[in-house]
C-alpha cells in the first residue's frame, strides 16, 4: 500500500468513525475538535487494524492528536 493510499484510508476511517466528511476532517485534522471519545476512537481502531492489517499499541494510539499522528502510527516502517 502506498503512502497516499494509507493516508486516504486513515482519513476515510477516521471520518467515518467521527461521522464527518473527509473534507471536514482534512480541514480540521485535530481529532479532539470532533466527537473523538472512547466509542468513536475504538470504532476507528477496529477499522484501522482490520483494513490496514496492523496491530497498534493502545497507548500510542490514544496519544495521537491529529490525523497525521494516526497515519504515522499505521504507516509501514520499512
Amino acid at each position: 500500500m502506498t503512502e497516499t493510499t494509507v493516508e486516504q484510508s486513515v482519513l476515510e476511517i477516521l471520518a467515518g468513525a467521527l461521522d464527518v466528511s473527509v473534507d471536514v476532517l482534512r480541514g480540521e485534522p485535530v481529532l479532539a475538535r470532533h466527537e473523538w471519545d472512547s466509542i468513536s476512537s475504538l470504532d476507528a481502531l477496529a477499522q484501522l487494524e482490520n483494513r490496514l492489517d496492523v496491530s497498534l499499541d493502545l497507548r500510542a494510539f490514544h496519544a495521537a492528536r491529529t490525523v497525521d499522528d494516526v497515519v504515522a502510527l499505521v504507516r509501514p516502517t520499512s
Binding site: G16, L42, A46, Q47, N50, L58
Partner: protein, 613 residues
C-alpha cells in the same frame, strides 16, 4: 449477485426513505460475517424508527461489562431477522440491581452479556481451586435467583449464554491436576447456566462457549479488555448477536419452514443424466460421504418439522428410480412433501411448490450448486433465502446450518408431523380434480374440526401460532406463551385450539382463539388460523362454534375486529361471511338473540377430548 448495490448503501437508502430494507438485503445482512460491517449497519439502522414489515421487539440489554459495540452489532443482526429492535441498554455497573428490580414493562427479551467477572472473586488463590469452585457455585446460585425473579415479575424472556474460561485464568494455575479441577468447576458453572432453560419457560440459554470454539474469531482482545472493560472482540460479539437473532427469529415465528434442495452436485456428486444412478458420488469415502452427510442433515431437519422440496432440472422418472434404488440414498421419494423435477426454471417451480403446499415463498430456503439457478431465484423470488452448494461438498452442511434458518423456540407435535401434513396436502390437491362441484369434494373429504380449551400441553403451540400466523390473523395481537398461559388460568378469558383432520391425514392444531368473556358481550381478541386449512369452511365452523358458546353462557352478543396488516388481506371478509354486522373501523358484532349461524354441513365438529376419527 455482483451487480447489486453495496449492502450498506442499500441500507442507508432504506433508512433515508423510512422503510424496511428489502427481503434480499435482510438475507444479505444475515449472511454478513464481518463484524465491522455489522457495526456500521447497526449504526445506520439505529435511525430507522418505524418500518412496515419489520416486527417490533423491545430488548433490554444488561451487561456485567461495557456494552460497547454490541448494541450496534446486535441491532444489525436482529434487523436481518425481520425485527425492528428497540434496544434499551442497562446502566453500566448496575447489572445485578437492574436484573433484581427492573419491572421490564413492555420488554420482550432481556438479553444478558456476561463475562467472568460475574462469577470470579476479585482475587483468588491458585492453590485453592476447591475454594474457587465453591465460590463459582455460590455466584451461579445468585444469578439463578436474579434471573428467576426477573421472569416471575414480567412476561419477558431472559436470554443468557455460557461464559468462556479466560486463558489468563486457566493458565495461571500451573498444576495439571488443579487446572483440570478448575476447568471442571467452570464447566459445571456453564452446565448450571444451561440448566436455567429447563427451569423456566421464559429463560433461554445459548452455548457461546461451543460457538466460539468453532469460530475464526478470538474471544478477547487484551488491550480493549484492560482499557475499556470490553471482554469480547467484535467478532465474538457478532457470534453472540447471531445467537440472539436466532432466538428472536424463533420466538417471533420468523424462521423458515421449507428446505428446497437441488439434486445433482448438492444431494449427490455428479450429474444423474450423464453418469446414471450407479455413477453418482454418494456414501463411501470422500466426496461421497460429504453428500451423504448433506442428506442425513436434511433428513434430521425433516424429522424436526422442516418441509423438504425437491427442485431439480432432471428427468423425473430417472430421479424417482435413483432415489428409490440407490442403496446409499437417505432421502427416499416420500421424504419430499413436494417435488419439482422438470426442465422449467426453478423460480417458477418453487413458486408452484409454495402454492401447492399453501406456504409463502418467504418461508423457503433454497440450496443449489449452480450460480445461475441461484441468481435466477434471487432475482425472481427475493424473499427466498438462497444458499450455495458449490465448491467443496464438505462445506455444504455448515452452509446449510450455520445461520439457524429453521430454529424454533420449542418443537410441538405439529412441527413433528408437518412434513407428512404437507405431503398429504399436495395429494389432496390431486384428489380434488375428480369432483363435479367443490361441495361434493368437501363432503368427500370428511373434514373433522376438533375444538378444545387450551391447557399447559398446548400453550406452546398456541403461542407459536400467534407468532407465526400472518395471513389469517384477524387483529395482529400476538399473545406470547406467558400471556396465553395467564389467560388460560383466568376464568374471564377463554383460549381455544382448533385441530383439523380429513381423509388424507391429521393437520393437528392449526388455529387458536383468545376470547374475553368477562362481560355480557364476548369479545374475540384474536383468531388465527393456518392458511393450509382455508378453503374448507373451517373458519365459518369456528365462528358458529364461538357464537354457540357465547349464547349458551348467556352472552347477548359476540364481537370481533379485523385490523388490516400488509399480509392479512385474505381474512378481510371473514366476519361478514360468518354473519356478523360491520360497525365501522374494523369492528363487527353478532347479536345472539336472533338465531345463530350454522357451521358448513360438510364439517364434523367435535368438542373437548372427542377423538377425530
Amino acid at each position: 449477485m455482483s451487480d447489486r448495490p453495496d449492502l450498506l448503501e442499500s441500507l442507508r437508502a432504506a433508512v433515508a426513505e423510512g422503510r424496511a430494507p428489502s427481503p434480499a438485503d435482510l438475507t444479505r445482512l444475515a449472511l454478513v460475517s464481518d463484524p465491522l460491517v455489522l457495526r456500521k449497519a447497526g449504526k445506520l439502522l439505529a435511525r430507522l424508527e418505524d418500518a412496515d414489515g419489520l416486527r417490533p421487539l423491545r430488548v433490554a440489554l444488561l451487561a456485567t461489562c461495557t456494552i460497547g459495540s454490541y448494541e450496534q452489532i446486535l441491532r444489525a443482526s436482529l434487523v436481518s431477522a425481520g425485527v425492528l429492535p428497540d434496544l434499551v441498554p442497562g446502566p453500566y455497573g448496575m447489572f445485578e440491581l437492574t436484573l433484581a428490580t427492573d419491572p421490564f414493562d413492555g420488554v420482550d427479551v432481556v438479553a444478558l452479556l456476561l463475562d467472568e467477572t460475574c462469577f470470579l472473586p476479585h482475587d483468588w488463590a491458585a492453590t485453592d481451586v476447591d475454594g474457587l469452585a465453591g465460590h463459582l457455585e455460590a455466584r451461579l446460585a445468585d444469578l439463578r435467583g436474579l434471573v428467576l425473579s426477573a421472569v416471575e415479575r414480567s412476561t419477558a424472556t431472559v436470554l443468557l449464554h455460557t461464559v468462556p474460561l479466560p486463558a489468563q485464568v486457566r493458565d495461571s494455575v500451573i498444576s495439571w491436576r488443579a487446572r483440570a479441577a478448575l476447568s471442571k468447576a467452570w464447566a459445571k458453572l456453564n452446565e448450571g447456566l444451561l440448566d436455567l432453560a429447563a427451569q423456566h419457560r421464559q429463560v433461554a440459554v445459548t452455548d457461546l462457549v461451543s460457538v466460539l470454539a468453532d469460530s475464526p474469531f478470538p474471544a478477547r482482545d487484551d488491550r480493549l479488555h484492560r482499557y475499556g472493560d470490553l471482554p469480547y472482540t467484535d467478532g465474538a460479539l457478532s457470534l453472540l448477536a447471531r445467537e440472539v437473532r436466532r432466538f428472536a427469529q424463533a420466538r417471533g415465528g420468523l424462521s423458515r419452514k421449507v428446505l428446497a434442495l437441488d439434486l445433482d452436485n448438492t444431494l449427490w456428486g455428479g450429474v444423474l443424466g450423464e453418469v446414471g444412478a450407479e455413477g453418482v458420488q454418494l456414501g463411501g469415502l470422500y466426496p461421497g460421504n460429504a453428500y451423504r452427510e448433506v442428506q442425513r442433515t436434511a433428513s434430521r431437519l425433516r424429522d424436526q418439522g422442516v418441509v423438504l422440496v425437491l427442485a431439480s432440472k432432471n428427468d423425473a422418472d430417472l430421479v424417482d428410480e435413483a432415489l428409490t434404488a440407490h442403496p446409499e440414498v437417505l432421502l427416499r421419494p416420500e421424504a419430499f412433501s413436494a417435488k419439482a423435477v422438470n426442465w422449467s426454471p426453478k423460480a417458477g417451480n418453487l413458486r408452484e411448490a409454495a402454492s401447492a403446499l399453501g406456504l409463502a415463498t418467504g418461508s423457503f430456503v433454497f440450496l443449489d450448486d449452480s450460480p445461475f439457478e441461484r441468481g435466477h431465484v434471487e432475482e425472481e423470488l427475493p424473499d427466498v433465502v438462497v444458499l450455495p452448494a458449490d465448491g467443496d461438498p464438505a462445506h455444504i452442511v455448515r452452509t446449510l446450518l450455520a445461520q439457524g434458518w429453521f430454529d424454533v423456540a420449542e418443537l410441538t407435535e405439529t412441527d413433528l408431523a408437518r412434513p407428512e401434513l404437507y405431503r398429504s396436502r399436495t395429494l389432496r390437491n390431486d384428489f380434488a380434480g375428480g369432483f363435479g362441484s367443490s361441495e361434493d369434494y368437501l363432503h368427500a373429504l370428511d373434514v373433522r374440526l376438533v375444538v378444545q380449551e387450551a391447557d399447559g400441553f398446548s400453550v406452546a403451540r398456541v403461542a407459536q401460532l400467534a407468532a407465526r400466523t400472518n395471513q389469517f390473523n384477524l387483529t395482529g395481537l400476538r399473545f406470547d406463551e406467558a400471556e396465553t398461559g395467564r389467560r388460560i388460568a383466568d376464568p374471564d378469558h377463554l383460549v381455544v385450539t382448533f385441530a383439523v383432520a380429513d381423509r388424507f391425514g391429521d393437520e393437528g392444531v392449526i388455529g387458536a382463539a383468545w376470547v374475553d368473556r368477562s362481560g355480557v358481550e364476548w369479545h374475540v381478541d384474536n383468531l388465527v388460523l393456518s392458511c393450509r386449512v382455508l378453503g374448507r369452511g373451517v373458519e365459518l365452523a369456528i365462528a358458529a362454534w364461538l357464537a354457540r358458546q357465547a349464547h349458551a353462557a348467556g352472552a347477548t352478543a359476540l364481537r370481533g375486529r379485523y385490523v388490516p396488516s400488509k399480509k392479512n388481506g385474505l381474512a378481510k371478509g371473514f366476519w361478514t361471511d360468518a354473519g356478523f354486522t360491520a360497525e365501522g373501523d374494523g369492528a363487527h358484532a353478532l347479536a345472539l338473540d336472533a338465531g345463530l349461524p350454522e357451521a358448513p354441513a360438510w364439517i364434523n365438529l367435535l368438542e373437548g377430548n372427542e377423538v377425530a376419527r
